[in-house]
């Protein structure tokens, strides 16, 4: 019990929250970026553009089939060989963005496929071009259907930022490790604190999703 009281000293909690802040920063940046790139890639993959879609499809498959841990590793240590030396946080955001974009691209593709094909036919026969139909009619509907899958993915993303401890990104998991490095007895209190804090952040995300889902339902 004493371990718990000591472990949850204000100094430790503050340090953990500093880590949480980095987790949130990296997550938000990666969510925004991967949402943008993922949508673009998903559309390209769906659209059947000669060669381009096939190549994009292969890259998506390749990257989303690799453990994120390795992608983080390669981003941080491989890129300098190509002359670009990212800072730790840049490497983390970059790696998360690359990986999550591919996951989201797949979600976007299947979301578009799921929209009733009559919607596109309606748009085409109404005189809209394929791309106008996609942008104005199909995508907004696909996005609405995709919300649950997207949110699942974003929840994974938030938790996956912890993998960046491997390159010593000062996020929450790493800070927890530092704290229980001071005293090995703090490990279980720290794991409990991690569970609670991640739960709060991720659950907030899913509540947000439910709210969006309700607001977007046009009825």
């Amino acid at each position: 019990m004493q371990n718990f009281i000591d472990a949850y000293s204000w100094i430790n909690i503050r340090y953990l929250l500093q880590g949480l802040w980095v987790t949130v920063e990296v997550s938000v940046a990666s969510i925004i970026l991967s949402y943008i790139f993922g949508t673009i890639l998903g559309i390209i993959r769906y659209a059947n553009i000669k060669y381009v879609s096939a190549i994009v499809g292969f890259i998506i498959d390749l990257i989303r089939n690799l453990p994120l841990l390795l992608i983080i590793f390669f981003t941080y240590f491989g890129l300098p060989n190509l002359g670009f030396k990212p800072a730790i946080i840049e490497a983390a955001i970059l790696a998360m963005t690359v990986f999550e974009s591919m996951m989201i691209a797949e979600i976007v593709r299947s979301g578009i496929v799921a929209v009733d094909s009559g919607q596109m036919e309606g748009a085409l026969s109404n005189g809209l071009s394929y791309w106008q139909g996609l942008r104005i009619v199909i995508l907004p509907q696909a996005m609405k259907n995709m919300i649950p899958a997207l949110v699942s993915q974003f929840i994974s993303l938030v938790k996956d930022t912890s993998l960046a401890t491997i390159i010593v990104l000062p996020e929450m998991m790493y800070h927890a490790q530092i704290i229980y490095g001071q005293n090995t007895n703090y490990i279980i209190p720290m794991f409990i604190a991690l569970a609670v804090l991640y739960f709060i952040v991720c659950y907030a995300l899913s509540l947000l999703a439910k709210y969006l889902d309700k607001r977007m339902s046009y009825r």
Binding site: D61, N65, L66, F74, M103, K159, F191, A195
Partner: protein
Amino acid sequence: MIHIFATQWPLLLEGLGRTLLCSIIALFFSLIIGSLFAIFEIMPNKIMRVIGNIYVEVFRNIPLLVITMFFFVVIPLYVTKINGFTAGTIGLTIYTSAFIAETVRSGIQSVDPGQMEGAMSNGLTFWQSMRYVVLPQAFKIVIPPLGNQFINLVKNSSVLAFVAGFDLMYQGNMIANNTLQTMPTFFVVGILYLVITMPLSYYMRYLEKKLA
């Protein structure tokens, strides 16, 4: 790179085998448990719905490592001794089943409700209708997102590395540390993961096309 594989293949293959074994076991059980909780979530009985909901929300929203560590260090203190491989596999199963429950639930809900009504009015009970009519159709619908979950599962099995499960990532860490050939080692490890996940994702794509 070739050198790494040439000298370290026994460890790497053991790791690959363990990763594969853990994935298959976790896949099997998380599919069953996930489907069960998915059904709970849509049952007419409110208590069951709440139970299903809590399970999914809790285990989906906390990190896999925390769940796994719980089985590795807390359960042995109070319940029974389990090794890292088992603890990792259990953790992975619980974590993945929460995601699968979400996926299957949305799949069940997208099966035409007429199917359930047809079965019920034909005299089948709720559970019989689920088992014989709705679930088989739901699985067809959820194959693409389920495929995503399977691939995630294989990759998430690297959590075994944290509890000495002797999986691919664990062996990779050891080799990297002993040889200090970090980048080449992880490159080989990455390729070995692709050996499992790529065929899986192409198979999923094939199934998706075939069942469309």
